[in-house]
Symmetry: D2
Subunit: 437 residues, 4 copies
């Protein structure tokens, strides 16, 4: 049975088309900088927003019309698998991501939950084999259930820690079964409501403990996905420990996790932390830790995670520039951690919204590639930092030949004659517009 009978496989038709169910910019096999678009972008659809999000918000009931709701929770879960792979195939998306509770009902006991997970992921495996679609990453939801009220790795209750460990173990078992490329930790409750009753160091020690157990278990079962931490500054917690990329790098370094962990960065989390998305990508890239991205966008005037489908072409261009400079995002990908607005409640909006996001990233990729081909940014940098490589003093400092005393002597001789160059940044931004628009 089809859940989207009115929708054919989405084709590229170009900017002029009036067909809503067509790509206007994304052409999977179009070669950009020597690689097909789809290999650059490695799009993934997120199970949670696409299959289980219901349109509710803190002040409103569900609005989404979803035709896969069945007689039992397991029926619904199975229908969702069908519908999900239909969406992936119709969009031509080759990767997907999920939390454990997205795909299988929790049932009435941990045992039932784990059995449900086995059953549904077996079904998913069949679909994967049939379609060639791959698992970008999976993860355990360790934030929704009341038991995780005070965290999972960071919980004040060791029994909750054990429960979390059981979920991670199962998550890694599933990852092995499905050939997952990455495994993600997002610590929505790994933080605090108030410092008054929080032992932050103890909690972070325990989070690291859980991570190290996970590395060990992966090694034991002979499956080593790339582990990823997803930073977010707050929400649902008042403060989350993985505030942003740099904070998470401090944690990774502090606990010696550099070899096994990288970052999964989300656009909306970046702005909630006070950064642009490209900033977070740059930080990760320069620490050698850019793992994967959650593609969405926030509303800069709202203080919560809106997880909108990305349509801001400039922002996506700057993100894609960082990804290209990183040599690509593999084994990570571009996962649409995005949900349709509450007023876009129709089934077809799931397709339309992903097309909108994919077209936006296709545009961003093409503009970023052009910026690289034209050396627009690299020329800017070469000129701006030129004195470091074309003056004696610049070269000498970089070569490690100078110290405070020698530089002080230099400054006494030359320091009064320093001349700066204007950045002409307004002109630069104006020309950049001509690339993007």
């Amino acid at each position: 049975m089809s859940y989207f009978p009115q929708v054919e496989k989405i084709q590229f038709e170009g900017k002029g088309t009036k067909n809503r169910f067509a790509f206007r910019h994304y052409k999977a096999d179009e070669v950009v900088l020597g690689k097909p678009m789809k290999e650059h972008l490695r799009f993934a659809v997120a199970y949670w927003h696409t299959m289980t999000q219901d349109g509710s918000d803190p002040f409103g009931m569900p609005t989404n019309e979803r035709t896969w709701i069945g007689a039992t929770e397991m029926d619904t879960a199975k229908n969702r698998v069908e519908a999900f792979f239909e969406i992936l195939e119709k969009l031509g998306v080759e990767y997907f991501c999920f939390h454990d509770i997205d795909v299988a009902p929790a049932g009435n006991s941990i045992e039932e939950f784990m059995n449900n997970l086995d059953e549904i992921t077996d079904l998913i495996k069949v679909k994967m084999d049939q379609t060639g679609i791959k698992l970008l990453w999976n993860t355990a939801n360790m934030f929704s259930h009341p038991r995780f009220n005070n965290g999972a790795g960071s919980t004040n209750d060791p029994e909750v820690f054990a429960y979390a460990a059981a979920q991670v173990k199962k998550g890694l078992d599933i990852s092995k079964k499905l050939g997952g490329a990455n495994y993600v930790f997002w610590g929505g409750r790994e933080g605090y409501e108030t410092l008054l009753n929080t032992d932050m160091k103890f909690e972070q020690d325990n989070i690291a403990r859980l991570f190290k157990m996970s590395i060990a278990y992966g090694e034991k079962i002979g499956h080593k996905p790339q582990f990823l931490i997803e930073p977010k500054p707050k929400e649902p917690s008042k403060h989350q420990y993985d505030f942003d990329a740099a904070t998470t790098m401090a944690f990774i370094k502090n606990y010696g996790l550099e070899g096994d962990f990288k970052l999964n960065l989300e656009a909306n989390h970046a702005t909630l932390a006070g950064h642009t998305f490209e900033h977070e990508l740059r930080v990760a890239r320069e620490y050698g830790a850019l793992g994967s991205i959650d593609a969405n966008q926030g509303d800069m005037l709202l203080g919560w995670d809106t997880d909108e489908f990305p349509t801001n072409v400039m922002d996506v261009t700057l993100a894609m520039y960082e990804i290209l400079q990183n040599g690509g995002i593999a084994p990570g990908g571009v996962n649409f951690d995005a949900k349709v607005r509450r007023s876009s409640f129709a089934m077809e909006d799931l397709i339309l919204a992903h097309i909108a996001g994919m077209d936006t990233f296709a545009r961003g990729l093409k503009v970023a590639a052009k910026l690289i081909e034209d050396k627009f940014i690299s020329d800017l940098l070469a000129e701006r930092y030129g004195k470091w490589t074309n003056t004696e003093i610049g070269k000498s400092i970089l070569a490690g030949k100078e110290d405070l005393e020698s530089l002080s002597s230099y400054a006494y001789k030359h320091g009064d004659a320093i001349e700066l160059e204007s950045s002409h940044i307004e002109y630069v931004k104006s020309v950049l517009n001509d690339y993007v628009f």
Copy 2:
């Protein structure tokens, strides 16, 4: 000559006094937790806000009435030394902090600037010897002059880097001469206007280079102040590399600076970065890097650094709690990086504002001490985390005896019976109020 002839040395008179020039809460020698208040608090007055701030803002001209303006810049500089030590003595403050350009005019050349610095700091040394007042920290202003438009350590121009090096060298020479306990780096321009024209890694490499040169020079001259980095997320730069405590720790670890560098944390910088001040203190404390604090407060509804004198008793209490838990702040101190409001332009406001800040910290210290004496917070923690030490599974995890498999087995047996405890956080906050108010 006296600049505050109407003001006597400020005495403690208690809460009931109507004398504006009296402490109502701060009693330097009152013993709290076994130490006199003044040893806990190690107050410092900041040269810049107190002596050189003129009341101007981006939309307004100077308003401050200051009676130390002399016929020449050097006259003014000398008058300021007199007036500054008068303020310190009348307040009973034993430490102070300054940037190079706060104390000495830049003159028309680097040589003149350095000579001015020598002359004025000689004068300062005389006053220090006379009064017993000590240098908490000094620093080089490497952000105000146009040459630092694009940074100092992070500059795109190696000649500017050399100039910065000369200032740091002189700063360390002065630190040695005056027996400075700490030396601070605040990188107001060590950041970017736009990533488009910025090589972030190159810039951070160079900042670390400057820091390592500073460590080496300190060793060479046999003077090792505690080096401190002061985080701030933005302003004047659009983005500053030392965004917050955790970001700065990632940097410190990345460049192997842990042994030599700690943090100087400011309340207003914390909130601009999206954190409470106590959060920043906790982060630093848990990294073993709490060096010193800049005491002030921001306005939570304003997006820039207002550097108000601290009068929020609750916030200061929570900050002092962290400091007490840290075993104190020495060799750092509580430096009033705070300026009188533009409408508080009278000379006497400099005294009144410091009294307000010192009284607020005295209150905060006393409440924090009471919280510790009553074990208010430690009891909360002991109860909240009790299961980690009084259950077998908790002890076993902490002892490193468990792995994902053993914990999964445990969860299968016990995971369905987890019971949580309420935090009663509203009650806790209400009782906390009774401590503070």
Copy 3:
């Protein structure tokens, strides 16, 4: 049956008590400025947060333990009435507030919903008669159901408008039956997701239309509660029309609603709009439109409505000062639009949290009264604005005798000799601390 058998009626025991179920500051009959505390404060408990809030958040399932859940929705609804009045009586709170859907299940049709409402509100009336507890205000929930996705008064669908009208009619009928003092409109969906598809003027015309119908209906049935609009800037909508007090006053004036409408102001909504609570109260007060308040507090570092129980004594003091200056809040009141934190999920937390809030307001009231008795603020104002009443030019301007020409002449003569007075604001804040703490 009792839902809180372990809790007696809460008594005042004073600051020293260790009894968690006692007031430490609120003493209902203590006379402050000539009136008992309870008449100043007119506390109300909110049905929604207290009875129906379940502890869920956008990333988490319900956590709250609630013993009133029955076999059917109507059983639960009836149990809640019992439990609610038990809470009110045990707290000694004499007012309450509710939305229609808080008290009665929506059923399967509008008719069933309305019948449920009649049945439950009859039950409420019985309890009111038994206890003497009064209805501060009721309102219709016109934001949770999917039909209100695009607003109620502002909907793009006239059938939805009709539905909203039916709810308001019933709300006014209930208000009449229960003797409601006020009737509130909070327009959580009266705003937009994007201006692209929004006719803002048309929507606001229709909101005003609904309000005018409500006035007319109240007149027709001979029941005139004070109508109140509750401003909020955003959430759930991206932008809400009633952004803040001033915006709402512009609307009220634009549609000629001044005679019938005042404002219900909430602390957390104020800060989300970029204002202090006291600012919003002042704005309303000066427009003669301060109707009632929703007592809670937000987290200044979070961008969404946290609706915490108020425990910030300084903020509440400044709010109570505005209320006292307004001559009191009647016929409005102090409604605890506040919810226990997700980790305070026990039944008893409902009692403890209200005690915390009531004690905080009792403190605030007493401090505000002292500020008035001591003329602390009025003396400040009298001195600061003194020149307007004790100089000829001041009096002449206020008397309307001057124009630009006469003032220009005056300025030519006297303008170069203007002398300002310092505000000494740091000192003022420091003394204020001694009142509060």
Copy 4:
């Protein structure tokens, strides 16, 4: 003498040009929607940012290289007039705006200041006559001098009020002499530092008093420019009374100023107040009060007024859409209240930055026109609100024939069968991208 000898009059050369001193999008005489671009856009250059801004910021000294600094302040002032008109002519901009102190030195007395103003504005008049360039608006700077510390119209000192009145009188005299189309009030200090010492109502009464005196004086001298208030939420004040468009409309209505006052709206002020620029324009438009705009952009991650030159094409498109829907902006205009970044300190950046801004507005105008020609938005609205005009119930409500009772009856019959339409907003935004990019 020329201040930009290397720059010719800027010509349109189109998108492909490599000439930095050329328009790539703005073609003054190109007809869009029946009018030349220049008549739609009515560009103005701001004297303050272009001629007097020096590149300083709260942490940095001036950086800007400006070749018009003369031997005396009056020499500089005269040079600036020359240079300013050279910029206007080379850019082909036909309007300008200024504060009194931008053009003339304050001298040592009010009399000297006024004489300087007469002399320089006579010179400006000569240039206007020679070039045909016109005055969009002027205003009095009543916020920079210390005397305005506590406001101008809202001051606590009637002598300051008189001084402000003298400046406004002179401003209106100059407006008459130069044929100014508008006269602006921006109340940078008309607000408060703290409510504790502020009588908000008294202050607002006095601001209105000053405005009414201004209307009266304009009538007396037979010169009636459009009076404009420019809202801004904060900075330099902690809170400014004219917070945003809606707040200012409440004020205008409260004091009966609708006939004479409209709004001058700025993009960066909008976002500081928590709104998009198009929101502010819409609010003003719907109140019939859209007067003029200050074209710039802020940084959404920074909490202060950055006044960047506008380069965000999407934002400018949405702004231009509002302006076109308003029937144009005349007698207002598009004033570049924008300053070059501190690192763009060269003389030529003044030209380059204005070209960037003008090209961005030209793009925005053309896209907005296309949206109107294609009825992209109007069709969206017609469909979305269609039920109001094509159903009986919709028409009947709009015709005023319904009341709560009739609508309640309607809802009982039809309310259970309401069906909503999806907004497909992701698709809409995606198509909008194809217009813009």
